[in-house]
Amino acid sequence: MTTYIIRRLLIMPITLMGVTFLIFAMMQILGPVERSALYVRDVPKTENQINAIIERYGLADPIHFQYWYWLVGRQDPQTGDVVGGILRGDLGFSRTGREPVIDMLQRRFPATLELALWAMIPIIAGGIWMGMKAALNHNRPVDQVSRVFATLGWSIPTFVLGLLLLLIFYARLGWFAPGRLSTQFALEVTRPGFIQYTKMMTVDALLNLRFDIFIDALTHLVMPVITLAVIQWALLLRVTRSSMLEEMRQDYVRTARSKGLKERTVVNRHIRRNALIPVVTIAGATLAGLMNGAVVTETIFNYPGLGQMAAEAAVTLDVITMLGFALFNGILFIGAYLIVDILYVVIDPRIRLS
């Protein structure tokens, strides 16, 4: 197992490098003018300024030089400062956000993370629980109903679901509103009295013992969480269900029954443990799905996370922000898939001990 993990760890930098190649290649589709945004600290004013930047940072140099500059940065021949360089954490300047891309990512990531974490609760609880229920009642009403819901949930586009929720719960019923906080609290959390430990509103509100803010943040999360969760919930339900059905047919289940074990023990101890192993393998896909969903969901519900930023940048063709976002995602998911793979190996004794 350890050699597998080490091998996996050694492949990681190769994949990472491939990711930088891919993003750099996409960047090369752009002209030098757009790329100049990598090296500025403000929205450039005139054409001359831009040309000067292209000249100064070698944006018209051969490709392999440019790749190197992009990685490690470029010394400004006048000031002597090093500018740019993704390895230094400099991803350029965001036209939409009017701030460095890296700052924007840092500021907005906690909001998306908070959304994703809350969404995990219904996904895991509902998906696994209903998947097991459905499998144990194979072809009975519970199974049929959950299959119908799973197929519907799987088929409905996120943006349609989000808008339908808005139509019902906001426009008609007025229960929930878009945004992240109500106006009265939105200002309050920026004041010195409220310490933003994690920048995740629900968590910070609890840490500051502000239950009113906690409740407010939570009500704002209800619609986006549902929107984000439905597809992944449907996916998990299906995977759990088919994995359970598969395991229920195995010989060892017959052995367990022949020992006279209670049906509860057969299911909980024998079947479930085997059935959940494949479920772990789709955890990576679930996380990726949440990020996909976040782009649409945050846009619809005006929720200030990474997804909303990306959608805005995409509409305004702010490519530097997009590429920064892509790089961030690349690194995030290389890590996430690595953890999932290792987890899978650790969970299954057949692999762990061989």
């Binding site: 010989d251 052995t255 020992k259 074990l261 004794p349």
Partner: protein, 334 residues
Amino acid sequence: MTTILDVRNLVTRFYTEDGVVHAVNGISYTLDEGESMAIVGESGSGKSVGVMSIMGLIPSPPGKVEAGEVLYNGRDLLKLSPEELRQLRGSEIAMIFQDPMTSLNPVLTVGLQMTEALELHLNMSSAQAKERAVEMLQLVGIPNAADRLDDYPHQFSGGQRQRLMIAMALSCNPSILIADEPTTALDVTIQAQIIELVQKLQQELGMAIIWITHDLGVVAGMVQKLAVMYAGFIVEYGSVHDLYNLTSHPYTLGLLNSIPKVDARERTRLSSIEGLPPDLLMEPKRCPFAPRCTFAVERCWEENPPLISIAPAHSSACWQWEVVRSQSKVGVAA
């Protein structure tokens, strides 16, 4: 000897998309305390389904036990509630299966799989159960038993896994052990080891054994009684001696003749049963063996012969049993 298991007219069918599979068509046999018997038949003969029906392990749907009685110490198992039947399984009647690799749970330790039945049926504490598990593992010949409780099934070799299955099945001291082709997946030399082990354990522990197999040769030396199954029927039933020497059903005779004889002096042609077993989707009206039978007469195509007693403790389901018996080993000699 007291009869411990009395199966009467057991019928099991499967209701599939393609039609009704007539898997077991009214079989009857008895098993005495401490006795060992074998049920012999080819794949699809209903030999496994028959015992699974007794244990309440038929997947339902599509399977259904449709008729019959299974008297275990006088109680009809088919009338028990699922909960009552569950309590009997593993403690009174235990099973081992064909493929020890897939029959053990791959993600649970051997120790856990050994002790769970003990804790459930014998109310042992976890320490007691562990002690008993180690004892059983030693009994079936697993070296360093105490150290191996935390291992997983894949860390054992094929033969050892079957030993684990046996240890697990016998740990609660059942009075009947049902062995469903336990040696088929194993190599010949390992097969010999396992057979010897089961025989030794039977002598020590005294349980009755129902040995299910497709190979008449394997069981010849180890059981007292035989039931030969074909297409869901028991076609011949009796003591081992009678079945081998006074064979009275053409299928049994065919099976015996198609087994290669290692001790034969001359290289002869193998005799074989031509044709194929019948389609179980068809309602059995005539003798199911008639199309492959060299002894068949017109009556065989019209009427399915019942299993009738032809001698004390020997029955056959064949209209021509007397003719067949004259062709059997002893019959020919005489």
